[in-house]
Subunit: 508 residues, 2 copies
């Protein structure tokens, strides 16, 4: 391990009149003997007495690298070098996930998640931003809500493992730009407001206590590239390693927003857009989060819906992956046409309006997905595909040049690849080229915790990353409109779907 | 100026959609254009909004070099680069002196001093140390007393100059090892207790706020070499520049303790001893501090004392420089013999005991200096000379090899050189070789504030400094005894005194 923290046992000589070195120098010399140049903070200086004497000068130093030098973050009596732990955090706007990692072995000892305490200030991020706008006191409240969430997870991890998380010397946090602004007590209005010049993009290491996090050591936040290209995505790039390979990959995180990165060790282009609102509650009328009662997957055969419901109870709504299945099944079975319009008499589940045209479908008892829902969703999936196409057009890369697609985030983890291809949301490539990579924000945080050489890599990534403002591209609307069809106005882009449709046509 | 702080005007472009760099990056880029690589602390990040907008992105950055990198310590609207101030402090155990320095020009704008608030916890340093021993809460009290003293001086300087000292980006403090321990809230019992392994000798830069000092910037404390060889002496070495010259010099600071450094650019040997107690109040019965009513200088001609009294009122006691004059005049006029015994009938001011032998002298109406006082003082002056002689013996250096003697501190500033030579406290060299250098602790603090290359020089000084434990030298007592005579048992060491005595003998 070549991590951001170290624990080193320092069996030192007891001072004598022949060797009256200071306690500080004794520790620095012992560390230098291990090849480490370090610095002692004030709290550590203050903790030396009477700890050193009581421990007979056999102590273990905890250290964190702060980008410039090693900082001693704490001292413990005896040899506790085996007890070397760190924390990796995915600071989401809804859910915060924290991992307790054995930094000697890299093993993840436990993972906990909880809702962000920020939710008390607004379900969605914009409400929170308006709450704090020009209100320094409110910024402090949001900061405290953030650190309270982290404290709670630390406590939960301590309770479940018996390990004192407060003694950790390093915590790596990855989150989007707004989340990092809230954590640092900074005004976040800039993230959503032209000209989108944020307060900070590459914050330094901070002492946890300075931020209000009850931990001895230091905290580092993944840097962001732009307002909508946050540290969670940079962390994702690191997690996939796409920036180190010769092959070209695409990293795609579709959540409330969609962020896309395309590139390899030589270049990285990226962009972001409001790809995902229809994937969560709100926009789609029976839409809901992926919680108990949500239809998360769905099949339609012989005009009968087979539902997978989270928690196995009665269906209460539909989440993102369920919607993708639903649209795909309706389309492939001829119930939705390529414009996303319902075909009359194509299913017994259709609902009809006053003029006799179908207006929706009852996909579960009492749960209706109507044509507006379909259109909302088509905009979402079109946005996702548009991001990919525009990025390829800007760089001259074709689908054939791309070796791997990394689909990150919760949606990416649950969506059915075939369905996503059938509706034209994912590109029509062999399934094995599409990798469901899960919470790469958290994985990247852990990677950095365990490998400090990534700090240097981050500088390289940020330097390389070319940010595309999709909205300012001339043919943006054209591309978007073409992608709003099922799967696309140019069906040849989706040969597997074309074949399937032909087969079914034939069967019919 | 190549100081530890800088103020740099940064006229930056207002963000646009074409240039949406973060506020942090905008500042870092503007600094980089000036050749400065810097880091922004959390309070500075938090201060950017709405300051940058309100100042139309025309701001001045205050910076402090922290040994590793430049730290931005504050931002002010507009161009305030001319208002670049710093603070230099001599943190004495009795008196604390602070200078406000124009860091662009090096000019000292004002100097203030006051008694240390620590005195409330004991007039002498040992009382304070015992008060804090094993009492963390008491350590905090002493720390607060120290920072309160600094705050008071900052306020006085602000009041007298109209300059906001809280906005300074750097404060350099030099003080003895105990004072620095108190300032940092560290246990100081180690300073006076075998094996004399102190807590810290080379503390890093600290944020002023971390220490409880109400200033935006950072604080650096001069490192110490050993328990009795504090930062005030290292600062003195820097102030005299003796470590940069080919010629060999002696630096001597005689206060409550005496510290001596001998050397040049190739070597530095040093040692310390309890040289000075008889120079202040307490040990000598009519002794007092150099305050109103103290006899500070004295002549004896035709058996009449001519007194210089501080404040020009009635004499109430005698301070260090007065005592040196008194002993010198009594000796040179044949009233004290070489053993420091009063010669009967040598003066009308003598006081006699029951057995008819003289026991003291009334040097001012009602003020008597008795033979015990003389003996106490001879031990003090012998200690001073002994330190010098032993250092020379250890290094093989002779008086003729030494080009300059720097006499530092308040006593050094006020003592009459001729008197000090006549009693054998100062070496018998031409007066122009003896330099009265005043408060070198403060001067060295100012030097470092204005020249950061001294940080590197300090490492070299500390590496070179050879610390001699005088007490453990075999012939220590012998040398000390020989030096207890007036001026020395070997009169040939003081040829000018020998000549003067011969002349007076002849006159008589």
């Amino acid at each position: 391990m070549n991590g951001l923290s170290q624990k080193i046992y320092l069996p030192m000589h007891v001072p004598t009149e022949e060797d009256p070195r200071s306690s500080q120098q004794r520790i620095l010399d012992a560390l230098a003997a291990e090849g480490i140049s370090a610095s002692l903070s004030l709290p550590v200086l203050q903790s030396m007495f009477p700890l050193l004497e009581q421990a007979d000068y056999q102590v273990t130093a905890s250290l964190c690298f702060n980008g410039y030098t090693w900082q001693v973050t704490g001292l413990t009596p005896g040899n506790t070098a085996d007890e070397h732990y760190g924390l990796a955090v995915d600071l989401g706007s809804t859910t915060v996930v924290m991992e307790l990692v054995n930094c000697n072995t890299g093993e993840v000892l436990a993972q906990e998640s909880c809702y962000s305490h920020q939710i008390a200030y607004g379900e969605d991020i914009l409400t929170r931003i308006f709450y704090t706008k020009n209100q320094p006191e409110h910024r402090k409240e949001l900061q405290k809500a953030t650190t309270d969430t982290l404290s709670q997870l630390m406590q939960t991890l301590s309770d479940s493992t018996g390990i004192n998380t407060r003694a950790c010397s390093c915590m790596i946090i990855s989150g989007n730009t707004t989340m990092i602004h809230f954590l640092l007590g900074l005004d976040a209005f800039c993230v959503f407001s032209s000209p989108y010049a944020v307060q900070t993009d590459t914050p330094d290491f901070f002492w946890a206590k300075e931020l209000g996090i009850p931990m001895e050591g230091m905290v580092y936040c993944y840097p962001c590239r732009a307002n909508y290209m946050g540290g969670d995505i940079i962390s994702g790039i690191v997690a996939t390693g796409m920036n180190r390979r010769e092959e070209i990959s695409v990293f795609f995180d579709i959540g409330t927003n969609g962020e896309l990165v395309m590139g390899n060790r030589d270049f990285l282009v990226c962009g972001a857009g409001a790809a995902g609102p229809a994937l969560e509650g709100g926009v789609v009328k029976t839409g809901m989060r992926a919680a108990d009662g949500a239809v998360e997957a769905l099949k339609l055969s012989d005009d009968t819906f087979q539902l997978s419901v989270i928690g196995h109870g009665n269906p209460m709504g539909i989440c993102g992956s369920g919607i993708v299945d639903l649209i795909a099944e309706l389309f492939i079975n001829g119930i939705l046409d390529i414009r996303g319009k319902f075909s009359a008499n194509s299913s017994r589940h259709l609902i009809y309006g006053k003029n006799g045209t179908p207006t929706g479908i009852e996909y579960a008892p009492g749960l209706i997905f109507d044509e507006n829902d379909v259109q909302e969703f088509l905009r979402t999936k079109a946005a996702a595909y548009t991001m990919m196409q525009l990025t390829m057009e800007q760089t001259g890369i074709t689908m054939a040049d791309i070796s791997d697609f990394y689909m990150a985030g919760s949606f990416g983890s649950h969506v059915n690849k075939e369905s996503a291809i059938r509706i034209g949301m994912y590109p029509d490539v062999p399934h094995e080229q599409i990798h469901t990579v899960g919470n790469t924000s958290l994985m990247g945080a852990r990677s950095l915790l365990l490998d400090r050489s990534i700090l240097t890599e981050l500088k390289d990534i940020l330097d390389k990353m070319e940010y595309i403002q999709f909205g300012s591209i001339a043919n943006f609307l054209e591309v978007m409109t073409a992608a709003s069809y099922l799967p696309h106005i140019d069906l040849h882009r989706f040969p597997s779907v074309e074949r399937e449709l032909a087969k079914r046509q034939y069967t019919k």
